[in-house]
């Protein structure tokens, strides 16, 4: 993980070596006084390091959200965006970015966060009104996702010019362009907190593996536990999406990869998913940054391009195992 971050920092248009990275880090941590050129220092400390760390946090966070939702909803296809969060975020971002709603006060990220929370609230309300079982949650999520995607497209087609469309599209596909240290702090904090809470609920999540009835008979307050964990994943996802856009596939695929490696017990699955997610995301971001220089590829495109073949591979291996 540390090595991945360090290596990822060296990738890019400007030449930076691992030694440079080490020197810059030591300087900023006050552990050494090594002379480094100011330009390199700026690239490493102000640009690539925060970016790599944010990528790690986003990967870890989306991974654990996906793992929690898959267990909670007994659905291997559940991912952090199942509950309308990504499309809600898109709608929020588009409303701010294209229509200028809320002005500069909230910005694209703020709009995305509000949109995501609002969409999630609507989906949960719909699920509760229709009975509240796992399948209702999923159906409500699908409906919510469709609605907000349509709203996003509507706003883009009706009001945006081509430059704005391109900017919004780029953001929608997930992007870590221009992240700064406050983003690192935000993502890091929510991910660490989220991971801690998920680890605390590891046994509750284990109890769900044979369905709600078995969970209830093992002493789990099913409705309450599910709602708490859904809200937790929603807030976590919304925060990450507001920084990095709708990065797809990480939350869907990586939990499966982690299960494949460490088994289904959540006390081990959660840290494993977080770690794999972090490393994966750092590398995909680094590669998307340099693959089509000087034009960066949206990182969401990279995750899907790498993620889909990986997913197919897992499916095939599982079939053989059965």
């Amino acid at each position: 993980m540390v090595l991945s971050v360090a290596a990822a920092i060296t990738l890019g248009p400007a030449d930076v070596s691992l030694v440079n990275v080490r020197d810059v880090l030591l300087n900023h941590l006050g552990l050494a006084e090594v002379p480094v050129r100011a330009a390199k220092d700026a690239i490493v400390w102000e640009e690539r390091l925060p970016r790599a760390l944010t990528a790690a946090a986003v990967g870890a966070g989306l991974g654990i959200c996906g793992a929690v939702l898959q267990s909670l909803l007994h659905n291997p296809l559940a991912d952090p965006f199942l509950l309308g969060i990504s499309s809600g975020a898109s709608t929020g971002a588009v409303l701010v970015g294209v229509l200028g709603l809320g002005g500069t006060a909230i910005g694209l990220s703020g709009g995305a966060f509000l949109g995501a929370v609002l969409a999630f609230g609507l989906v949960v309300l719909l699920a509760q009104l229709s009975g509240g079982g796992t399948d209702r949650v999923i159906l409500a999520g699908v409906a919510g996702t469709q609605l907000f995607s349509a709203l996003t497209s509507f706003v883009v087609f009706a009001f945006a010019d081509s430059d704005e469309t391109r900017g919004v599209m780029f953001w929608l596909l997930g992007s870590l362009e221009g992240v700064r240290w406050d983003d690192v702090a935000l993502c890091g904090a929510v991910v660490v907190l989220g991971l801690a809470l998920c680890l605390g609920s590891a046994h509750t999540l284990d109890a769900f593996s044979f369905g709600d009835d078995v969970a209830a008979s093992l002493g789990v307050h099913v409705t309450r536990a599910r709602m708490l964990l859904l809200v937790l994943t929603a807030v976590l996802t919304a925060a990450l999406v507001s920084v990095a856009g709708a990065v797809g596939f990480v939350g869907l695929v990586l939990p499966h990869a982690a299960r494949f490696l460490v088994g289904p017990r959540h006390a081990r699955l959660m840290p494993a998913t977080a770690l794999i997610g972090a490393v994966f995301m750092v590398w995909v971001d680094a590669v998307s940054r340099v693959a089509f220089q000087p034009t960066p590829l949206p990182v969401g495109v990279g995750t899907a391009l790498v993620g889909v073949p990986a997913f197919v591979l897992i499916l095939l291996r599982r079939r053989r195992a059965r």
């Binding site: 046994h203 044979f210 009835d213 078995v214 209830a216 008979s217 789990v220 088994g263 017990r265």
Partner: protein, 259 residues
């Protein structure tokens, strides 16, 4: 004192599925819940396990209403083996059985000293020790049923609720499984279809018909040709074999109009 239902009544989706049933199993006994499909056996078990609350009447554990007790406390005393417990995850037998220790763990899930012992004992009881590392999806239906029972035993309950545990099992496994349950030093309530199995293994049976308990007592007194004709609508010959055990033989055709 034990798990008891007094006059419980439950409307489920508009239909009255349990209608004023009282069940007071003697501690350590094995009680069979009998009755045709839709007579309310599973629903009564759901009320007893606390997964559903009765609309009227009360289910008590050691005299306290089930709904007023923390779920974890209930789960430490009452274990449930339901009909359709399945999973998509690649989970090993030992880990399924470990699930039974969840109600005994603290908030952060630190494993107590007794945990692995209880898991090992549950595996041994159900004859699964040498299958502990098998994956769930490689097991047969009978093995899965036994794993669920092992999981329930790992809860170290005083009360065991089983919903048609012999479904999909061959005769040998049916016999083995019920012999295991009857041997356990816990109070068991078992929903059963097979009247001969009920006669063999249950200390008491309760017969349900459209949500009502229409008969109850030792199998020998309850399972008469008249009752079987009335409740199941089937003609039966009830006798005792040469070793004095009750046996029920069914005959094709509708029961006589007189019975």
């Amino acid at each position: 004192m034990t798990l008891e239902a007094r006059g419980v009544r439950w409307h489920r989706g508009g239909a009255l599925v349990v209608d004023g049933v009282t069940l007071t199993p003697a501690p350590g006994s094995t009680v069979g819940l009998l009755g045709p499909n839709g007579s309310g056996k599973s629903s009564l078990l759901r009320l007893l396990s606390g997964t559903a609350r009765p609309d009227a009447g009360v289910v008590t554990l050691d005299g306290a209403a089930l709904g007023s007790l923390p779920r974890r406390e209930v789960a430490r005393a009452v274990a449930v083996v339901s009909q359709h417990a399945d999973t998509d995850t690649d989970i090993r037998v030992r880990d399924v059985v470990r699930l039974g220790r969840i109600p005994h763990r603290g908030f952060l899930g630190s494993a107590g000293a007794g945990d692995e012992g209880a898991v090992a004992a549950a595996l041994a009881h159900t004859g699964l020790t040498d299958k502990a590392d098998r994956l769930w999806h490689t097991l047969s239906g009978g093995e899965r049923q036994r794993v669920q029972i092992a999981r329930a035993l790992a809860q170290e309950p005083r009360e065991l609720l089983l919903d048609e545990p012999t479904n999909h099992l061959d005769i040998r496994h049916q016999l083995e499984l019920l012999a295991l349950v009857a041997r356990l030093p816990v109070t068991s309530v078992i929903a059963l279809h097979d009247l001969n199995l009920a006669a063999l293994f249950c200390d008491e049976v309760v017969v349900l018909e459209r949500g009502r308990a229409v008969a109850g007592g030792p199998p020998r007194e309850v399972l008469t040709a008249e009752l079987i004709a009335r409740v199941y609508g089937v003609r039966a010959l009830v006798g005792t074999d040469e070793r004095g055990r009750l046996s029920v033989l069914f005959e094709p055709g509708a029961p006589d109009a007189t019975s």
